[in-house]
């Protein structure tokens, strides 16, 4: 890693209106002294900015600078408040994020109510959810998944950073009821023996 490469990556990320992937950064900065140069520069910059008023963060394989969250109180004034999601919107978003890709019917099975027409629209309009192909089962239902903007917005490096994901998975709470039920029946039989 060279100081020149670090400066270049810093300038390009500062100037960019969008978070940038390694590939995009390479297209602007050039290969430099080697392919790993940019990765090393990013690591050095993240270290340099740690604890400052501005931080370098990685979100879904893309990097950007943002202000330190603990300074939010200084910056919120006369700024448009982030749009408030309805409860249905929040739950639907959480279900998609923790189960993706997931079909509308699967979302409805978890929530116990129909997904209102506008709910998915709002999430897609916000840029947090996208159609993620059809499932190859009868009816070929469309599935949904989250986007890189979802990770950026909620400050997640990757989906693995979703709060409580590991616990939920370990507890089987991300499995469909049928599967969980069978699992429990097997355990019960084993206990009975």
């Amino acid at each position: 890693m060279s100081a020149a490469s670090e400066r270049a990556v810093e300038a390009v990320l500062f100037a960019s209106a969008e978070p940038l992937s390694l590939d995009s950064l390479r297209a602007y900065v050039g290969e430099g002294d080697g392919g790993s140069d940019i990765r090393a520069s990013l690591a050095a910059l993240a270290e340099r900015y740690r604890g400052r008023g501005v931080e370098l963060v990685e979100r879904g394989g893309r990097w950007h600078f943002q202000t330190a969250p603990d300074l939010a109180h200084l910056l919120r004034r006369d700024r448009e408040e982030v749009r408030r999601l309805s409860r249905a919107g929040i739950e639907t978003l959480a279900i998609i994020a923790y189960h993706e890709p997931v079909s509308r019917a699967e979302i409805e099975a978890i929530r116990g109510v129909q997904v209102a027409k506008g709910t998915l629209d709002v999430l897609m309009e916000a840029g947090w959810v996208r159609p993620a192909g059809r499932r190859e089962v009868p009816g070929r239902p469309l599935t949904y998944a989250t986007t890189p903007e979802f990770l950026s917005h909620f400050g997640l490096r990757s989906r693995r950073d979703l709060p409580g994901l590991d616990d939920l998975r370990a507890a089987g709470l991300l499995d469909p009821v049928d599967l969980a039920f069978e699992q429990l029946a097997v355990e019960k039989d084993a206990d009975d023996d």
Partner: protein
């Protein structure tokens, strides 16, 4: 309707369907959902719906469907287990509990997600980035053959049109009229128009002669100097001197 506090607690507007209501009631039991008493939950729900009915609140159909199903579940749970009935009541209760756990987990996950440091609320991107630009540069391509055909095309289009039809013989209309008039003068019987064409002619000249002779025949017929006969469209065209 006069009992205001009662009505408040029965405000069904706030629930998103029966499962949502059930989960709220379950949470009110203040135990881990895995420890919950389904029987108690069922009774709470039925009591709720019953009170709504007494107060003549309008209940959506799915609340009533759930109530009917829970009433069935309750009686099944209370009655001695019948091995013939599948699925048995414990199984149904367990499934209900699993559904409540899953909805609860997602509700909790959603709340934790919303509480994160969110971009545009807690953390901010640079408001006026210089922006990155992609300059599209065209790499033009063409080949020599394309260049040559293009020049050929332009030359052909613009060169003074020297349509010297040097190797092409034609029979003019005047010549055809003279020729047909002379030949028909000696013809008593119908003769096909081809008989009036020069015999020792090239293909191109015969085409020209045929066209001119046809026009000549029409002109001579108009002048009353020849009679024409044709059985059908595109049938052979016959010519003869007028009868008298």
């Amino acid at each position: 309707m006069s009992d205001a506090p009662e009505q408040l607690t029965l405000d069904l507007e706030g629930w998103e369907g029966p499962l949502d209501l059930l989960l709220s009631l379950a949470r009110a039991q203040k135990v881990d959902l895995r420890e919950i008493s389904i029987l108690a939950l069922v009774e709470q729900y039925l009591r709720y719906v019953e009170r709504a009915r007494v107060l003549q609140l309008e209940l959506a159909a799915d609340y009533l469907v759930m109530a009917a199903w829970l009433a069935y579940l309750k009686s099944a749970l209370l009655l001695p287990r019948d091995p013939e009935v599948e699925p048995d009541a414990d199984e149904l209760a367990l499934r209900l509990q699993l559904r409540l756990e899953r909805l609860d987990a997602m509700r909790d996950a959603g709340a934790r997600l919303m509480a994160r440091d969110r971009l545009g609320r807690d953390a901010f991107r640079r408001a006026a980035p210089e922006g990155l630009r992609v300059v599209r540069k065209a790499q033009w391509t063409a080949d020599l053959y394309g260049l040559m055909t293009a020049y050929g095309r332009v030359s052909a289009r613009s060169r003074p049109v020297m349509h010297v039809v040097h190797d092409r013989e034609v029979m003019t209309l005047e010549a055809a009229i003279a020729r047909v008039a002379a030949l028909v003068g000696s013809a008593i019987d119908w003769r096909a128009i081809e008989a009036f064409l020069p015999e020792q002619a090239s293909v191109a000249l015969r085409r020209s002669a045929l066209a001119s002779s046809f026009l000549a025949a029409l002109e001579l017929a108009r002048q009353g100097r020849v009679e024409l006969r044709q059985e059908a469209p595109f049938a052979p065209l016959y010519l003869r001197r007028p009868a008298a």
